[in-house]
């Protein structure tokens, strides 16, 4: 029994362990790796992906997938920057409202028509980016953030870490409680584990799905808005391929793509893992761009295999 619990923890925290190993190896290999400044840069830049990954975790546990987050991220940023000319409140509410509506539409289509989430959100990916291009004059207009208060939301610091890090931490904690300790969270696990059974057990399947996609879209929009505040502008070339990063982080974190199992801690660890890998590659300093890609592909494969072997260890008992 003890053994079993041990290996179960191993599996659940496989990503955390791989992360720890990597950090130790990195610190031993490079002097400038384990510095506070470098750590801060990894944590800060990871926080936006982490916010998206939190939403993605819910979606994937529910048995779905959300490819639209990259586009929503850039749309959120453009809208926030645009809205910031009317003040902080608009800068936050405008992206949340629009992204929320997109999430709602995607959720409704997925829940009501039974179309595959992959394809619905792929359409979302295209459509939302089109929308972003439409409101930014085919990407030519970059709105600047004029509102100081809003910009401070992305740039202000406590203890060397900017606000988005703390916002991410709070969101992650809230998401953990939501997932583990509320009826909604249980419903998410249930429909991911066995949708038919969940329906027969009285889980409001359609409604839960809609919530999940709305949440994911809201978080992607929020991440975009915070990023716009950090960059002080609504950059239009962001977010391409971001959905794959988010999915990779979540899956590396131990969440099953087939749904029904997983958690927030793993996803956050997965995001940090990706950040640390990148940082390590930068430490080497003189790799050509092509080699950098080879190395990150290898790293990714290694991490996934390590994670997988750790989780297999549990199966054997």
């Amino acid at each position: 029994m003890n053994r079993e619990q041990l290996s179960r923890t191993l599996q659940q925290h496989g990503a955390v362990m791989v992360l720890g190993t990597l950090v130790i190896v990195g610190s031993l290999a490079f002097d400038s790796f384990a510095t506070p400044a470098n750590a801060a840069s990894v944590v800060v830049s990871s926080s936006f992906l982490a916010i998206i990954a939190i939403g993605m975790t819910f979606v994937i546990i529910s048995g779905g997938i959300d490819l639209s987050v990259g586009s929503l991220f850039v749309l959120g940023g453009v809208l926030a920057a645009y809205g910031s000319q009317y003040g902080m409140l608009v800068a936050l509410l405008l992206p949340l409202a629009v992204c929320g509506v997109v999430g709602l539409l995607q959720g409704l289509v997925i829940a009501r028509t039974g179309m595959a989430p992959f394809i619905v959100t792929l359409a979302g990916l295209l459509g939302v980016r089109g929308l972003m291009l439409a409101i930014s004059d085919e990407g030519a207009t970059t709105y600047l953030v004029k509102d100081r208060a809003f910009a401070a939301l992305g740039q202000g610091e406590i203890l060397g870490l900017s606000y988005p890090v703390y916002i991410t931490a709070v969101l992650a904690l809230a998401a953990m409680v939501l997932l583990q300790r509320t009826g909604f969270g249980q419903n998410v696990y249930a429909i991911g584990g066995n949708e038919q059974a969940a329906a027969l057990m009285g889980v409001p399947v359609a409604r839960t799905k809609v919530y999940v996609y709305v949440m994911s879209a809201l978080l992607a929009g929020l991440a975009g808005a915070l990023n716009a505040a950090r960059l002080s502008s609504g950059v239009t070339i962001l977010g391409i391929g971001l959905e794959l990063d988010a999915i990779a982080a979540v899956v590396i974190g131990g969440t099953l793509l087939t749904g029904g199992a997983g958690g927030i801690t793993g996803s956050v660890a997965g995001v940090l893992l990706l950040g640390v890998i990148q940082s390590l590659i930068n430490q080497v300093g003189n790799l050509t761009s092509a080699f950098q890609q080879v190395v990150s592909g290898l790293f990714l494969a290694l991490v996934v295999v390590a994670q997988r072997l750790l989780s297999k260890a549990q199966r054997l008992t």
């Binding site: 509320t182 009826g183 249930a190 027969l200 057990m201 099953l256 008992t317």
Partner: protein, 520 residues
């Protein structure tokens, strides 16, 4: 006041339901009254599960009317039905395998702590308490899928009954239960009835019906064949109603399945000849502990034991579907490559799995493709399949097993449970095995089909096939098997053969071995 005069709590009036190609329900009426246990019976595919799903909002009826508590009712979703007080255990265990036992049990009504957040400790405590009332002692934190099918069924039962319900519907709840658990279940049903709850009960085990049910409704081919008090209906008449055949015809054909003479073992090859398959010292931590089994050609060996005794594991180990820590399987004296199901099948050892839905059918394929699946390599040349050969095999087995399907091209997932089981049997017979391991082969099969399957086993054994029969139905085990091994906690604790093969002896063997702990 007689029960029948009470007003019905749940009622169907002339309900119809059509699926592409089948009229699953055709003007069926049924009234369920408070405090009665109402049996719903019929052959496989008669429409029982469909009727239940219409009652509970899974399907919307194409015609007719539903009434609940005196007024018209239409449940859009199972949730609505459940909220209104109709609690259901569906035929296929419908829980979430990856969630923990406790979360499955209490999904939707977890105990809340401060701030309305789920109180995990209280939840686990509550789950343990509830389940021990159903004789399930297990770590409620572990994923449900790690439990045996029977234990899962008890969780589903506990879940359904512990909701405040006016109507409890059970679709074949006993098909995967042990005798002792069946007793627990009956206790629950009687308690429900006494507190004025209406119970609808579907089962193919007729004895059970007579023990707990008051009323009976018989469906045949989607139509109402009979409804009335059960006590007034003798067994033979009930069967003839279900099958739609004359009583005399039913009587002469007989109900049991296994011809008596084999039990004596004169025609079958029991006792002589070398074993065709021999498993030695199968060992796997926590699951199997040095199990020895051997089957000779033409012999039917039964595996007995309680839930979780390791029967399924034994069978899976023999076909190489379960990684082992130790032990060896010999086929005709030659060792099998470990861990390879295809090697086992090529050597002539096949397993009909217990969990039809998860391990048996390929839901996206047709009946035809499902039957031909395992035999594919022999169905063509150079990797190109011969459609004609497949057609021939499929034809033969659909006829021989009387598989009821609109056509061979119908999706297997659209068949009734019993017919799906026959499709799987056909799949295994099509590879012409030397030994067939049957894990609960007649679970969820109607009397008619059950008899057919049993007769088939019999016939195959006579033709020289070795059979390992796992069944929770003791009667079936006793009548079918020449020799019975009794398992407990992954080890063989007794072997019965010849005259010893009786229900009493099996019970005694299990009891005598587990006495020390069962009551502790």
């Amino acid at each position: 006041m007689r029960r029948t005069e009470l007003e019905a709590v749940l009622e169907a009036r002339g309900v119809s339901k059509r699926f592409p190609g089948v009229l699953a329900l055709d003007g069926v009426s049924l009234a369920l009254r408070p405090g009665e246990v109402h049996a719903l019976v019929g052959e496989n595919g008669a429409g029982k599960s469909t009727l239940i799903k219409v009652f509970t909002g899974v399907y919307q009826p194409d015609g007719g009317e539903l009434r609940y508590q005196g007024g018209p009712a239409a449940f859009g979703t199972p949730l609505e039905a459940q909220r209104a007080g109709i609690s259901t255990i569906y035929q296929e265990v419908n829980l979430v395998p990856m969630m923990s036992v406790a979360r499955n049990l209490l999904l939707g009504r977890e105990p809340r702590g401060r701030l309305g957040v789920i109180d995990a400790a209280a939840m686990y405590g509550e789950a343990e308490r509830v389940l021990s009332g159903y004789g399930v002692d297990t770590d409620v934190r572990r994923p449900l899928r790690t439990l045996g099918v029977g234990a899962q069924q008890m969780v589903a039962l506990a879940r359904a009954v512990s909701v405040d319900a006016r109507v409890v519907i059970m679709d074949e709840p006993t098909s995967s239960l042990e005798p002792r658990e069946v007793e627990t279940l009956f206790g629950v049903i009687r308690r429900l009835r006494d507190s004025g709850i209406a119970v609808m009960y579907v089962s193919h085990r007729l004895d059970e019906l007579y023990r707990v049910c008051d009323q009976v409704t018989v469906l045949r081919d989607g139509r109402l064949a009979h409804t009335g008090p059960l006590a007034e209906l003798e067994r033979l008449r009930l069967i003839s109603l279900m099958l739609g055949r004359d009583q005399n015809e039913v009587r002469t054909e007989g109900l049991t399945s296994f011809s008596r003479e084999h039990a004596e073992g004169d025609e079958r090859g029991s006792g002589n000849g070398a074993p065709v398959v021999e498993a030695r010292g199968l060992t796997r931590r926590h699951v199997l502990d040095g199990v020895d089994v051997s089957v000779k050609p033409g012999e039917v060996v039964g595996l007995g034991g309680l839930l979780g005794a390791g029967r399924t594991e034994t069978a899976k180990a023999i076909v190489g579907a379960l990684p082992l820590d130790g032990g060896q399987v010999l086929v005709a004296g030659a060792p099998l490559r470990a861990g390879s199901t295809s090697a086992a099948i090529r050597a002539g050892v096949s397993l009909l799995p217990e969990d039809r839905k998860a391990e048996g059918i390929i839901p996206t394929l047709s009946v035809r493709e499902n039957i031909a699946l395992a035999a594919l390599p022999s169905m063509g040349r150079a990797g190109v399949v011969s459609e004609a050969k497949i057609d021939r095999i499929v034809e033969i087995f659909m006829r021989r097993l009387r598989i009821k399907a609109a056509s061979p091209h119908q999706l297997v997932s659209e068949l009734s449970g019993g017919n799906q089981q026959k499709v799987l049997l056909a799949r295994w017979l099509a590879v012409r095995p030397k030994v067939l391991l049957l894990d609960e082969p007649t679970r969820g099969i109607d009397v008619g089909a059950k008899a057919e399957v049993q007769a088939l086993i019999d016939e195959l054994a006579r033709e020289g096939l070795g059979v390992l029969l796992i069944s929770s139905d003791l009667e079936e085990l006793v009548e079918g098997a020449d020799r019975i091994l009794v398992l407990r906690e992954g080890a063989v604790v007794g072997e019965l053969s010849g005259d010893e093969v009786t229900e009493e002896r099996i019970m005694a063997t299990i009891a005598e071995q587990s006495d020390g702990r069962a009551d502790a």
